[in-house]
């Protein structure tokens, strides 16, 4: 087991949590048929016992500020001395002061420096005599410790940054000694062929078969601990960061950093970046406290970000990761740049949606805004205590309960029986979005609280519909007053169904009754025959499916017109998830067809049809 390597700070942490998850799932199963667990069950409770061993590191999604959004932007005036020049002691401390004054009371605590602290304004890197990154005195005249000290003086935590590997310029012909490692030089820590690594190929890949490599990482960690840093973003990590293959497999680096941090005795949060390969999520969970699931949110344009480039990617990319988030390690959606509409390059509606997704996905909440220039709306978004409580509290992360259509609903079942429900309209025009209680697994009345507006909206029967602006959202807590939804299940693999094209039954350990229907592609169809309901109406049919990537499928009833739905990724081909799709049924027997059309559709496990619409 890996616990030995993790022993100094987190003995058996993951194991403890896994047991807890199983226990809770079993408890749920006792009250609801397993197939009706429409929403993520409460697996991510703030089990303080489980995280106590790591001194609170990443017990909750971290909150704070990062320098990169402003560094990367062409917004007028931000980087007057060239690209990325915003990163200076003066600017960082100014932001730290603003964070302390405006946001600290709400839980924001980290002040994170991003790339470039060891590079001058021409981007020329500086290294110490041990091949470690060294503060550029142009940017940080007093060195890095002074920065951390100032941040700590405000009651905040300090974050620093490194690219993974040995930067090429630090190699020094292989002759640079490694600190505190007799006889080790830079030649000893990399591969003989000087193979490069990381998302930019800016570094030589470290070769951990030589203990000198770990010593080098230890030496960097020691330096950060001595300076007093509490957080490290390790960037360019693969597989991910746009790279794959052995050369870019940096799992060993992340593990080395985990060991090195542990060896310092200082609790340093280890965050890895970017677009990490979900196929290696077990490694990321094992060795880090958070992982960027996507590319940069920044647009590298005249604003900090833009909706299309690339805030809106997250709605498609987060669902596959959802179940991996929990105390100790979180899905990082990147900076939350909602504080100043003009600088952010977003509408109010987009800013609210941005903050809503980050909150319910339990992403770390770190803004990249200029905290000295927050507008009143931005401040209200960043300091909404109900929304922050949702992100920081014991509720599990939400995932979609409807397909990833332009109008979509995400939800999580909270431990108190209420639901966190977010409505999103990702279309370019206003639209009504409906959260149907049936998609949450209950029926009847429910009380609705609007978290952003701090209002109880009253009691709604069977559903709530709201008009949302383009790219808009609403965030509710829905407290059921009615009962559980009764459904009838139909297994995809049932011999009563009709398969066409290449569609075929396959084994699936994650699926109910162990099987599913797959090979739904290029015209392959699955038709459920004899789906019986008492009354005509529109039914929220819950579809259990497996799909390692987001895939679309045409759903129709009784040979009528089909509606194409994109089902979110389940993260891999061994996990089943559910979403509900509206289907119009007539009284009596119906057919429901899943048609791959001209593309590739998800594998279907089963459907559950409510007994009443």
């Amino acid at each position: 087991m890996r616990s030995s390597s993790y022993a100094p700070t987190a003995p058996g942490r993951r194991t403890t949590r896994a047991v807890l998850v199983l226990a809770l799932t079993a408890a749920m199963a006792a009250t609801l048929p397993a197939a009706q667990a429409a929403t993520p069950t409460a697996t991510a409770t703030a089990d303080s016992e489980a995280v106590a061993g790591v001194a609170g590191v990443a017990a909750k999604p971290y909150m704070g500020w990062s320098s990169w959004s402003m560094q990367s932007s062409k917004y007028p005036g931000l980087n007057p001395d060239g690209d990325y020049s915003y990163l200076t002691e003066k600017n960082v401390l100014k932001q730290a002061d603003a964070l302390a004054a405006k946001l600290k009371p709400y839980g924001y605590e980290y002040v994170n420096l991003d790339a470039g602290w060891w590079r001058d304004q021409d981007w020329t890197p500086q290294f110490d005599q041990y091949a470690r990154q060294k503060a550029d005195l142009g940017r940080f005249p007093r060195g890095m410790k002074a920065v951390a000290d100032h941040i700590h003086g405000k009651g905040l935590k300090a974050g620093i940054y490194l690219p993974v590997g040995l930067e090429k310029e630090a190699y020094g012909d292989g002759k640079i000694p490694i600190w505190n490692a007799d006889d080790c030089t830079t030649a000893d820590i990399v591969h003989g062929d000087l193979r490069t690594t990381n998302g930019w190929d800016s570094a030589y890949k470290l070769d951990y078969s030589n203990p000198c490599a770990q010593k080098y990482v230890d030496s960097q960690a020691r330096l950060f601990a001595d300076w007093g840093y509490d957080f490290l973003k390790l960037d360019g990590v693969g597989p991910g960061s746009g790279k794959s293959g052995d050369q870019y497999d940096n799992v060993a680096d992340v593990a080395a950093w985990q060991r090195a941090i542990a060896a310092t005795g200082r609790p340093i949060h280890l965050e890895i970046s970017w677009s990490l390969d979900i196929g290696r999520v077990a490694d990321w969970k094992k060795h880090s406290n958070g992982w960027r699931i996507d590319t940069d949110v920044e647009c590298y344009c005249n604003t900090l970000v833009s909706w299309e480039n690339s805030v809106d990617d997250r709605w498609d990319d987060a669902p596959g990761w959802t179940r991996h988030a929990g105390p100790g390690g979180w899905n990082d959606l990147d900076s939350l740049d909602v504080g100043n509409g003009q600088m952010d390059g977003l509408t109010k509606a987009e800013r609210q949606s941005y903050a809503t997704l980050w909150a319910i996905a339990k992403s770390p909440l770190y803004t990249g805004d200029d905290l000295t220039r927050l507008d009143s709306y931005g401040l209200s978004l960043l300091t909404n205590r109900e929304v922050i409580a949702l992100n920081q509290g014991g509720t599990p992360p939400a995932r979609p309960v409807t397909p990833s259509d332009p109008q979509q609903v995400w939800a999580a079942r909270n431990t108190d029986g209420s639901y966190t429900v977010a409505l999103f309209n990702l279309a370019d025009a206003p639209a009504a979005v409906t959260a149907d209680w049936a998609t949450l697994g209950f029926t009847g009345k429910a009380a609705v609280r609007d978290l952003w507006n701090h209002e109880n909206l009253g009691t709604y029967r069977n559903k709530v519909t709201q008009a949302l602006p383009a790219h808009g959202s609403r965030l509710f807590t829905v407290t059921p007053r009615g009962g559980a939804l009764a459904t009838t299940g139909y297994e995809a693999e049932s011999s009563a169904n009709t398969l066409s094209g290449n569609a075929s039954v396959a084994d699936c350990s994650a699926c109910s009754e162990g099987r599913k229907v797959g090979n739904l592609y290029l015209g392959g169809t699955l038709r459920f025959n004899d789906v019986v309901v008492d009354r005509a109406g529109t039914y929220q049919v819950k579809v259990a499916y497996v799909s390692g990537d987001a895939r679309s499928v045409d759903v129709s009833a009784n040979g009528n017109g089909a509606t194409r739905h994109k089902l979110p990724s389940t993260g891999d081909w061994g996990t089943a998830e559910t979403v509900s799709v509206p289907v119009s049924l007539k009284a009596g027997a119906n057919t429901i067809t899943f048609d791959s059309g001209s593309g590739y559709a998800p594998d279907i496990d089963r459907i559950d049809v409510p007994k009443s619409s």
Partner: protein
């Protein structure tokens, strides 16, 4: 090249007008003018209205998708699309006469007309009004809903913000000649924000909250606003109006141009200052409460709307629970008839007609509504189907009064059309010129503008189609004054064709016939075909109508005899032995696109009725027409589907007629053909780009009515093409019938149970259902109720 002056002289126009006998048209209704104080109905109740006449949505319009999502209002001349966004109400305001361009009388090198926004001109926006209420951001309100009450002509928006219910009404009043926005609330709420009225052509709004300017063509225009409220402050802030803490707020906006429907004054009223008049209008309206303005408006609107009521059956509770857009999508997805939605679609067409065709210019390609200043095809008048289709519904659907805008327009243009025809049509470069060398009367191009001008290609048969359309209005109404007014148009068109027809000998026979000179069958196939069916049929109908008009008015008896002689010799189309279709080009070959959108060679089936599925028409002609219609297919643009549906209704094929209506009700997505969220018909001009074209919004309802009642003078047929979807039970009141009757009809299980025939000028008619028929004779104003058809 002709050396005629660029604009016909006043003297010449007057002489042409006199020659054409249209002096009565000159100095007709100005479009935007001072009017007497409106009649205010005492205690006019606001009707609760039937939910069947209400469309509703659960989201506002996107500012950038107004043509699909904005809700239209209009007082017949002055219109707007409203976004209904709580935080920012946006109105895109239009006036039917707001046109660039001019007479456009310099032909291109090919003898055809220029067709640009500067020369021919374009329909454009008058202005935009915004009412910003920052605290009512859509993300912060709940329970949003907006409703279009077709019966009262009223758009209502409601939502809740912090426990207060806010309500907003928008309507365009004809009596007060203004658009009114009325903001109210219940629960102690207040309105704070600002109002701005801006032009869209670079105008500067003045401190009088108004703007005014003139186009290079000399057309002056202007708009003005005012606002008043209670419980707070309403203050002028430069060109804007700010309001703060208001319990309620009323905004009034008006505007227009100095367009005048008079060729002699070059379509301008030089004495009219539109900005000043707009200021007067809003000031006058603002002396009344919003409630008074609404009651005045609703009474005016309802008087027309209530002329026709229709039920096509009962929808399910599930269907009723859906908003209009969900319902449109469900109708297409589930294939389940939604009779109330289908009836509401018809009533929406009537709503558009009441809102867009009164006291000013007729409805153009976009009716009265725009979302920008560059509408496709200039938002003009297309004379080869579109303007005609716009008015097929009016008489059938109890809106004969809305038809007058078309008549007024044609009469006002006639002197100019006549002058241009005489000076330009026989230009040697014009491929369509008369090979006889003669010229008389008038005709038009495919496009016409409001300045007496033409655009794009000459369209010789356009005159005949305009005339048959005007004639049908007479058939419906038996209005002698209308007949008197249109008579010069009919006669001028006959004169044109008298000069144009050429004699040919049919191959393999010695029979001499008259055929139309070189022409293009809209809008495909050879450009220079003689004797195209389209022209032959329309001219035949024109001659027929003219003879009847002459007889009725006892005018020009000798000339009518001449025309009768020509009509007898007109070639009429045969069925192609090759294709089995009614020929389109006097050729057995298919020279065009098989599934082309236009049904030009079937113009004798609909709107004409020379071709009838009864003993009056040789069976092979009916079969050839049916085969051609079948070949044209069931999938086309909205207006083309509507025309197909009308033809199938004439052929008594209920299933096909209905399917085409269903096709038009399909939701438009990604610019595809179909119905937009606001029920406007969308025409896909290219993949991914759809535009609004209003003709299907009238053509489709016309087809629905034609399925319920066929009429021609002296003959009515009940339920000729009743589809199964509407058969169970239904009723309609107020359907206009050719021959001068209005029919109320009830049916059950597919059969009529009661028909009330009321004469509005008609005398004797047969009333048939299936193979049963009876004859009724009525005095004008009298009525008879018939039962027991199904015995």
């Amino acid at each position: 090249m002709d050396s005629s002056p660029t604009e016909p002289s006043r003297r010449r126009l007057l002489s042409l007008a006199a020659a054409a006998g249209v002096a009565t048209a000159l100095g007709g209704l100005p479009a935007f003018t001072a009017t007497a104080a409106p009649q205010r109905p005492a205690n006019a109740p606001l009707s609760q209205g039937s939910s069947r006449d209400q469309l509703w949505w659960q989201a506002p319009a996107d500012e950038h998708s107004m043509i699909e999502q904005g809700l239209p209002v209009g007082n017949g001349r002055l219109g707007a699309l409203a976004s209904n966004d709580p935080g920012r109400e946006l109105l895109l305001i239009t006036d039917a006469t707001m046109w660039t361009g001019g007479l456009n009388d310099t032909l291109d090198a090919d003898g055809q007309f220029p067709y640009g926004r500067e020369d021919f001109g374009s329909f454009t926006l008058l202005g935009r009004l915004t009412v910003d209420i920052p605290d009512h951001d859509l993300s912060a309100v709940s329970g949003y809903r907006r409703t279009l009450d077709l019966a009262q002509g009223l758009v209502t928006t409601s939502y809740v913000r912090s426990g207060v219910t806010y309500r907003r009404q928008i309507f365009a009043s004809r009596p007060d000649d203004a658009i009114v926005l009325h903001f109210t609330q219940s629960g102690g709420g207040r309105y704070t924000g600002s109002i701005a009225l801006d032009g869209t052509h670079g105008e500067t709004t003045r401190r009088t909250q108004s703007f005014g300017a003139a186009f290079p063509n000399g057309l002056r225009y202007g708009a003005a606003m005012t606002a008043y409220g209670s419980g707070g402050s309403v203050t002028v802030n430069g060109p804007r109006i700010d309001f703060a803490g208001c319990k309620d707020l009323t905004v009034v906006v008006s505007g227009g141009t100095n367009y005048a429907p008079d060729a002699v004054t070059h379509y301008r009223d030089p004495s009219l200052d539109p900005e000043r008049l707009a200021r007067t209008k809003v000031r006058d309206a603002a002396t009344h409460s919003a409630d008074t303005l609404l009651r005045t408006h609703a009474a005016d609107h309802r008087a027309l709307f209530e002329q026709l009521e229709i039920s096509l059956g009962t929808s399910s509770a599930g269907q009723r629970s859906l908003d209009t857009w969900e319902r449109i999508r469900a109708r297409a997805r589930d294939g389940e008839p939604d009779p109330e939605l289908e009836a509401a679609y018809l009533q929406f067409g009537r709503y558009l007609m009441i809102s867009g065709s009164r006291g000013s210019l007729p409805l153009n390609l976009q009716g009265l509504w725009l979302d920008g200043n560059d509408p496709d095809w200039m938002g003009d008048y297309h004379t080869d189907i579109n303007i005609q289709m716009n008015y097929w519904m009016a008489d059938r659907a109890g809106l004969s009064r809305c038809f007058d805008a078309l008549t007024d327009y044609c009469l006002a243009q006639l002197p100019s059309w006549t002058a241009l025809t005489r000076s330009l049509f026989n230009d040697p470069r014009n491929r369509y010129r008369n090979s006889t060398g003669k010229i008389a009367g008038w005709t038009v191009a495919i496009s016409t503008n409001i300045h007496g001008g033409n655009g794009w290609w000459w369209h010789p048969a356009g005159n005949a189609w305009l005339c048959t359309t005007l004639w049908e209005h007479y058939e419906f109404t038996r209005s002698r004054s209308h007949l008197t007014r249109i008579y010069p148009l009919l006669k001028g068109a006959c004169e044109f064709w008298e000069a144009r027809l050429i004699t040919t000998t049919l191959p393999g026979s010695s029979e001499e016939v008259l055929i139309a000179d070189s022409d293009w069958s809209p809008e495909h196939g050879p450009l220079d075909a003689k004797g195209i069916t389209y022209a032959q049929e329309l001219v035949w109908a024109l001659f027929d109508n003219y003879r009847a008009a002459s007889a009725e008015l006892k005018k020009d008896t000798a000339y009518a005899a001449t025309i009768a002689g020509l009509q007898k010799r007109l070639y009429l189309p045969k069925v192609s032995p090759k294709t089995g279709w009614l020929e389109e080009w006097m050729s057995p070959n298919n020279l065009g696109e098989t599934t082309h959108r236009h049904l030009s060679p079937l113009v004798g089936l609909f709107p004409g009725d020379r071709i009838r599925p009864d003993a009056s028409t040789p069976p092979e002609i009916v079969e050839g027409a049916t085969a051609l219609l079948t070949a044209r297919g069931m999938e086309s643009f909205g207006w083309a589907n509507a025309w197909r549906s009308l033809c199938w209704a004439r052929l008594k094929n209920a299933d096909k007629a209905y399917q085409l209506i269903v096709n038009n009700l399909r939701p438009s997505t990604g610019g595809g053909n179909g119905t937009a969220p606001n029920l406007f018909d969308i025409y896909q001009v290219e993949q991914g780009r759809g535009i609004f074209q209003i003709d299907a919004n009238f053509g489709t309802p016309a087809a629905m009515i034609e399925m319920l009642l066929y009429s021609r003078p002296g003959h009515l047929e009940l339920l000729p093409a009743l589809p199964d979807a509407w058969a169970k039970s239904g009723s309609v009141t107020g359907v206009g019938a050719r021959g001068g009757f209005v029919v109320d009809l009830r049916w059950r299980d597919g059969k009529p149970t009661e028909a009330r025939i009321r004469s509005v000028g008609g005398r004797t008619t047969t009333v048939a259902y299936g193979d049963r028929s009876r004859t009724v004779t009525l005095k004008p104003g009298a009525s008879v109720t018939l039962r027991d058809f199904a015995r």
